[in-house]
Symmetry: C2
Subunit: 207 residues, 2 copies
DNA sequence: TTTTATATGTTAACACTGTCAACACTGAGC
DNA sequence: GCTCAGTGTTGACAGTGTTAACATATAAAA
């Protein structure tokens, strides 16, 4: 914190400024065109300043993805109502898709191929695990409550996950653009189908 | 076709050579690092020679994706047995996943975000539609035969598609790496769950 | 307070990329 | 044989990620 904020040599908080700028940039131009130099220009520092805070571009992307998973987990958790039933799964699925719709570029970063060797980044893995655990806990509860088939809850969870991820991906990448019906109704129906597939009885979910 | 093949000024068939080289490159280094200049070097032409055959890099990627969809459609079609029942859907789903496993980088290109404004590329759209139509026809047949719920066959098809796409994506991006069970069993089970969700009765698919 | 060390920021440079304009060669049809 | 369109080449420009060497500001140590 310098006295003279206008003539400051030190920026103050380059990392968070970079993240904010990056979120803006990817929202505008897509994650594909994101450039470190442009980010540096955006926040008014030299082109190599970011390297004091991120080892390389990949690390900045990883951090973007990590925070994305954190936000996703948070939203999923928020979507769980007090009373648990099969519709809870739909609610969480919808929350998931809402996130993907709101932050498509961040979502691409989280799951896409832009980040290679994600396993090497512990923080990212941990964050994505936490997001998955929200679904996993629901599956466990579902099996315990007798709503879901008595298979591995992990498999139930992965089933839900892949279903909702498939929907999110196709949605983001524009494969549902020329849909005749309302997109939200459609998504709700798709999730409901999937839940029907792992629910114990042949329920009629009025999605 | 020059007489002297060794001192040839003209390469002969740059486009197909480029495609072959590109397929090799993305298989080795991933689609993210693909560079036009490297491709040109690979096939032994100057760095700007590709521009005589592809307007820009994007067009080359589009062609890669287009041929991918064609191959995918072909494999799906091949996987359909003479006799139709619910298991047919599983078989096609498995064929789909086999393709994704065999050509992960091409798959990423086909669905991922690397190609922006895919709608502008007519050939690509047509090719991807054809791939979808294979699934759509199955859904129609499924509704006609009374195996599937009497909803929009298009919705049934999209349900199958997003399910299998979700699995493929997560598989490719390494989210199933630390799976305890056999991956093929797992995938088969996941597809079966999904089909159970859109089948008319509560069938017990012995996947 | 002065000194020192560490964190942070800058400039200059390298190798690489996509792409364009200008030029050169080759082969087919007149 | 000449023309010309198709194909290939060279050279250049702007942009990128990244490193090394240098500069400054702040916090800790003296």
């Amino acid at each position: 914190m310098t006295q003279d904020k206008n003539n400051q040599y030190h920026h103050g908080d380059v990392p968070t400024a970079l993240m904010a700028a990056a979120l803006l940039r990817i929202k505008q131009d897509g994650v594909e065109k994101l450039s470190l130099r442009a980010l540096a220009r955006d926040i008014g520092v030299s082109q190599t300043a970011p390297y004091r805070h991120f080892k390389d571009k990949r690390c900045l992307l990883v951090e973007l993805a990590r925070s994305g998973f954190a936000e996703l987990a948070n939203r999923q958790q928020q979507a769980i109502p007090a009373e648990f039933n099969l519709k809870t799964l739909i609610a969480v699925g919808i929350a998931y898709l809402e996130f993907a719709k709101e932050f498509p570029e961040q979502y691409k970063l989280m799951f896409g191929t832009k980040i290679e060797n994600r396993c090497e980044h512990a923080g990212l893995m941990e964050s994505s695990m936490k997001s998955f655990e929200v679904i996993l806990n629901l599956a466990i509860k579902g099996v315990e409550s007798g709503f879901l088939i008595e298979k591995e809850p992990a498999h139930m969870a992965r089933c839900l996950w892949s279903n909702v991820h498939g929907l999110a991906s196709l949605l983001i990448d524009g494969f549902y653009n020329n849909l005749e019906t309302d997109i939200d109704d459609f998504l709700r129906q798709q999730i409901a189908f999937n839940i029907r597939g792992i629910s114990k009885d042949l329920v009629d979910l009025d999605y």
